[in-house]
């Protein structure tokens, strides 16, 4: 199960909407081992594409350096799909390399309906998990 605050949920959805029709991507960091996603870090999609996302290599390095200095880890890795469902694609599965992260997918294909789902992706196996949104985390 992924538990996150309303503020974090809203921030991820707002980022996805803002970058539509390109895919949006980012991380929600939290204290190492806590499973608490508390710090939203919007990342630039270096691919600037409606069908692909990739963190810029220098931004990625800075992000991990910062998380290491704060004793944080990426609790959530999120990105949007802008024309397809909020489910990991073959590419998403092949490239998922954070075995401890919750992979959140948001679909912005419908302007008025939010599709927000969370998955574990470990060694090519996708497991969907419930998402619990709470007022305060």
């Amino acid at each position: 199960m992924l538990t996150l605050s309303t503020a974090t949920y809203d921030a991820i959805v707002a980022h996805a909407r803002r970058d539509h029709p390109d895919e949006a991507c980012g991380v929600v960091a939290g204290p190492e081992g806590s499973d608490r996603p508390v710090r939203v870090i919007e990342m630039l999609n270096a691919a600037r594409s409606p069908t692909f996302y990739e963190f810029d290599s220098a931004d990625l390095f800075q992000l991990y350096k910062e998380m290491e200095a704060n004793d944080e880890e990426p609790v959530i890795v999120y990105h949007s799909h802008t024309a397809t469902e909020a489910y990991p694609s073959r590419t998403d599965i092949n490239l998922a390399q954070e075995p401890n992260a919750h992979y959140v997918l948001v679909s912005t294909r419908q302007p008025d309906t939010v599709e927000f789902r969370s998955f574990r992706i470990v060694q090519g196996t996708v497991t969907e998990e419930p998402v619990q949104v709470v007022a305060e985390l």
């Binding site: 991990y64 590419t91 390399q97």
Partner: protein
């Protein structure tokens, strides 16, 4: 050249869970060969069959992505910090 190598979560299965390990080499290729002698299987996760760096693995020497400094030929100095990070990427298809 004695350097420290930071290992990402997904590759710590090769290093008994260690986040950072010491290594040695005049350049990045030599360092990866040195690591392979102690952490068997690690190199294949970083280098393709044709000997180039995997497209979705990033290696940095100090703050520089080695793609901009000569890739596997990037030279190392004593005390350098080498960081391995998997790319964070995906797509709709």
């Amino acid at each position: 050249m004695a350097v420290e190598v930071k290992i990402p979560t997904i590759l710590r299965t090769y290093t008994d869970g260690s986040k950072a390990v010491p290594g040695d080499g005049a350049n990045l290729a030599a360092l990866l060969d040195d690591l392979e002698t102690r952490y068997s299987g690690l190199k294949a996760r970083l280098i393709t069959d044709d000997g180039s760096l995997h497209r979705f693995v990033n290696i940095y020497v100090n703050d520089e992505d080695v793609r901009f400094t000569g890739s596997l030929d990037t030279t190392l100095s004593d005390g350098d910090s080498v960081t391995i990070l998997p790319a964070v990427a995906g797509g709709s298809f």
